[in-house]
Every structure is written in C-alpha cells, then in structure tokens.
Symmetry: C2
Subunit: 337 residues, 2 copies
C-alpha cells in the first residue's frame, strides 16, 4: 500500500515472483518455449497473480512486431465495409492483435491513412479502395516493407496481395437461378460506366445470358450510379410504357434493387409474380424489403481469413485470390407454383 500502484506491471516483477530470469518469463509468455513443466506453470501463475500483461510499446520497440493490423476503408456507413469490419474485428482479436482503423472517402485521404498506418509499423495492411481510387502506386511504395492486401477493386500489382470476389461465379449463379425460375428475358442495371469493373461485369452478364439462352435488349441495360433514386428512375423508364419488358432485373447494388421495387409497386406490378429482382451485396435492407430481396452476398468470412493468411505469409509472397460469393435466395425471385 505504501508503494506505487502500478509497479507490478513489469516483467521483472513476474520474474522475481516466479524465481526465474526475465528472459525465461519472456520466452514462456510468448510461447517460444515448448515445454509445459513446473517452470512454465510457475511463470504463468506469477503473471496472473500480478495481473501482468506485456507492454506492447516495449515489445514493438525491440522486435518490430506491433501486433496491430491496419485497415483502411472508404466509409463505415457503406454496407460492404461495415460488414467486413464486423467480420474482421473478432477474428483479429482472438490472436491478441488489434485493429487500427483508417477511413478515407477518396484516393488522397486513403493515401494519407495508409502512410500513417505504415508509420505506426502495423504488421499488415488491408485496404478496401474507395470507388474509383487507384492505390497501386501508393501501395507499391510500401509493398517491400510489410504485407499488403487489397480487398476488391481492380488495379493489380504483383507486389501486393489481392482478395476479390469471383464475379464470374456470381453472375453465373444469378442468371442460372433466374433461368431455373423459368424466365426468358432479363435486364441488367450496371454500376458506373467509368469503372472498369462495371464494364467487365456488363460483359459477364451478356455471356451468361447467352449461355442460358435468355433474351436481353441493349436499351434495357444502362450504366449508372448505385442509388435508390437511380433504381426508381430506371424502373419507371422500363416499365411504365407498354413496350417489351424484361421478366427479371439484375442490379449491381441492393439500393438500385430497392428503388426498382418501390417504383414497380407504384406502377402496380408485383414482385416476383410480374418481375423478378436480384440485388448485390446482401446489405441489411435486403432482408427488410417487402418482399425480401434475393441478393449476392460477398463471402466476408473467407475474405477475412484469406486476407489474414496472406498477411501472416509476409510481404515476400503476394498472391491474388478470387472467392466465390453466395446467392441468398429470398422472396423477390421465387414464384409460387
């Protein structure tokens, strides 16, 4: 009671209490000592008794391992990043690592965050690029120093790792599922034209439509932004006049799909009896629309475990991984027979 109240908290005290050297304590607690003999138990008991936990600053200073993972996302209100966050944090934490978060809505801001995190000597860096951001140059700058994993996006560097979604598989599942429902024509609401990703997906859509002997029309399928308003407007354009109309619509985002459903409802068309709708991202709204929305769910869990595996591998062995998503079938594509 007379002494300081925090002086317990050093490895020296644990060593003294366990009657071993500080080196042994360090080795036991960091798992660099295989045996589980009396000494090991004594050390662990002493550590627990003193409520000791390593000083990460000191540890990092000596070993250059900080037990931190850096994550850079464009925004937490974007559902993909939010779901990734919820998946990644508990996974990291069991390893007694910690998550250092950077948020940057555009290329410049993301570059700053990346630089900050690198300066912090994070053990690995996971980056979800903002829409339209090209981080290749920035990332390559650090690629030799620490393992970097880019999640999604398009730019590919052979010096950084990349974990993406197998969009080919996604499109195949989606169109295949619609064909199974007996529809014969389908439209596609693509993302923004400037993005190379959108163009690639657009091509995949047509490939799959042909493969399943479905019909589509050039004037049905447009590029545009991922918003409710856009979906609403497109549905109004497509379905308000008595032209030839698609029996199903695939959307590049759940928000677009949601907007379409609102418009269809207003027009007196029923989902899925009159039109089938598929979304993308399996955001929280997908299960709350009425009817509930069939959507492509990114494989968050696999993305996270792959990213962490690649980081554990170190910066010397960058790899590019494509993971198949899951099609969550809900009411918007299932017609009762």
């Amino acid at each position: 009671m007379a002494g300081r109240n925090e002086s317990n908290r050093s490895i020296t005290n644990v060593a003294a209490l366990a009657n071993v050297s500080i080196a042994t304590v360090s080795r036991v607690l960091s798992g660099k000592r295989t045996k589980d003999d009396d000494i090991a138990r004594r050390v662990r008991a002493a550590a627990e008794q003193l409520n000791y936990s390593v000083n990460y600053a000191a540890s990092a200073l000596r070993s250059t391992i900080t037990n931190t993972i850096g994550l850079v996302i464009p925004s937490a209100t974007e559902t993909f990043s939010a779901q990734l966050l919820d998946e990644i944090e508990p996974t990291i934490d069991v390893d007694s690592q910690q998550l250092l978060l950077g948020i940057g809505p555009n290329q410049a801001a993301q570059g700053e965050r990346i630089a900050s995190l690198v300066a912090r000597h994070v053990d690995g860096l996971i980056v979800v690029p903002a829409a339209g951001a090209d981080l290749t140059e920035i990332l390559e700058q650090y690629a030799g120093t620490l393992p970097i994993v880019q999640v999604g996006g398009r730019q590919r560097s052979f010096h950084t790792s990349m974990v993406g979604i197998d969009e080919d598989a996604a499109m195949e599942m989606t169109i295949g599922h619609l064909a199974d429902q007996g529809i014969e024509s389908v439209a596609y609401m693509a993302g923004k034209e400037i993005s190379f990703e959108s163009a690639e997906l657009f091509a995949m859509f047509h490939t799959q439509v042909r493969a399943h002997h479905l019909k589509t029309q050039a004037d049905w399928n447009r590029f545009g932004e991922r918003s409710v308003q856009r979906g609403f407007d497109c549905a109004m354009r497509l379905f308000s006049e008595p032209l030839v109309q698609p029996e199903a619509v695939v959307c590049a985002d759940d928000t677009i799909a949601f907007g379409m459903m609102v418009a269809l409802h207003a027009l007196g068309l029923r989902v899925p009896q009159d039109v089938l709708i598929v979304g993308y991202n399996d955001s929280p709204i997908a299960s709350t629309t009425m009817p509930t929305l069939t959507s492509v769910r990114p494989p968050f869990q696999q993305i996270v475990s792959e990213a962490l595996r690649l980081i554990a591998l170190g910066p010397e062995h960058p790899a590019h991984v494509s993971l198949p998503p899951q099609l969550i079938v809900r009411d918007s594509t299932v017609v009762a027979r």
Copy 2:
C-alpha cells in the same frame, strides 16, 4: 547501397544531418521549442529529407503517451456507430492520433475489448454500450488510469465521463414540429420495454403531448423492438380497422418508421397527407424512403468533439454532457397547403 535500407529512420540520423543533438531534434519536432530560427528549420529540413517520422513505440515507451484513442462499439452495421465512426476518424487523425477499434455485440465482448485497449495504453477510451449492456463496473475499474467517455446508454458513474443526447429536447422538437403542422393526435412506437431509456422517452412523449394540447391513446402506444417488421405489424394493427386513428406517428427508430410506411402504402394511406411519420437516428434509409423521412439526427459532430475534449482533460475531471439533436424535416411530415 551497401548498408541497410531502413537505417535512415532514426532520430540520430536526423540529428547528424542537421548538425545538432538528438535532444534538439526531439524538442523541435515535438513542438517543445518555441523559436523558429535557423536551427529549427535545419532540423525540419533534415527530417523531411530523410522522410523521418517518430517511432511511436519508442515514444510511447518513454512517455506513456501512445497517440491512440480506443473506440468500442457494438457493431459497425448499426447506423449510429457507423455514422459516429465516419465522424470520429478524420477528427482524430488531424492530431496525428490513431483509432484503435474494438467491436463487441454484448456486455461480455465489450468488456474484453475494453480490457485489451486499456492494456494497449490508449490515451483515452470512447465506448458506445451495446443495447442492454451495463459497463459501469468494468469502466470504473480503469477510470482512475485513463479518461473514459461513454456515449449514450443509461448507466451513470461519477468516475467516467458521459456524452449523451438530450432526449427531452428531441421529443420537444418532434412534437412541436408535428403540432405546427396542425395535427391533433399522435402515437408513439417506443423501443424495448426492458430498457430504462425507452421508459423515460415514453414519459417524455406524454409530457410533450400534453404541453402541445394533442391527443393520444394508451392502446396506440406500444413498446417493442426496433425493426422493419415491428413497424409494419404495428401500422397494420393501428390503421387497418376503422377505429380512431392517430394523425401522426413518432417512431423510436427509422427502421420502425420505414416498416410503417410500407404498411400504410399497402393499406392505401398516403404519407404525409393521411398520416405524418417521424423516425429517429437519421440513418441512410431516411433519405431514400418515398416519401423521404423526417428524422431526429444525433449531433454526431458535437458528440465527437465533446468526447475528445473530455479525453484531453484527463481522467481527473469526469463530466456528463447532454447535447441537443437536430430534427431533419423531410417529406413525411410536410403537408402541402
């Protein structure tokens, strides 16, 4: 080229290049030296030339200031936490501080995250308690060691700071706005009954209803969960039979409001012509519903700056702050005249 490639990165090299001692470099770069003479400029130039940045581990080890803020939230997919994240990260970053994120969906998980962050010696801790979690005991354990700010929630400890929303003001603005629109009766869809918060809000609702000479009925107002389904069900119950119906409904969450709007649309009732709807949280869906939803917006910016201010004050002076929210008026409560 023959030497190591990272040996630039120490204060010693900067000192050598600027022809001063490491102590001077330290003082200049940490701002503990007021003058801006030739020496200061030489040091800064040298630091920039070598692309030097302090080693936070070494700095933390020496000074016990880690330049990190810990944040614990229940989930990133919850809109309140997500919006808080988007607001807090850029604010922290300008101070060259970093955000250490912990996610815990319940009391036990949050306790673990808090302990981890404290072990990391974060300079301050901001906690958004999970629904129903009582973190008082856990937080008080560390309250003497570091500044802690609880955001929202109910438990109050005089050893930790607290930043909350002035719900009284929120309810006053909401009911006042509805009264201004000329309505005479209003219903309230409260949160879960077990939460003391919900009960308090329920009471405030009645106080404000009386203050504005409006009518309400006991069987209109129910406690329940914050979900789309709940809103849908309640609207069906309230409006499908030809009973006396409220002219406006105040909801404890945007999701409830959204569910109600879907149900009202299905019943052929128009918002706002037949029923006025107000939500809470100003989540992203509020601006995408049709019509757009009037909603109470938590003062994220003030919450963040208050929390950081209280952290800067240190653990000795805990304070409890209540901040007035903003009523974002949209189409769901504005009747054209």
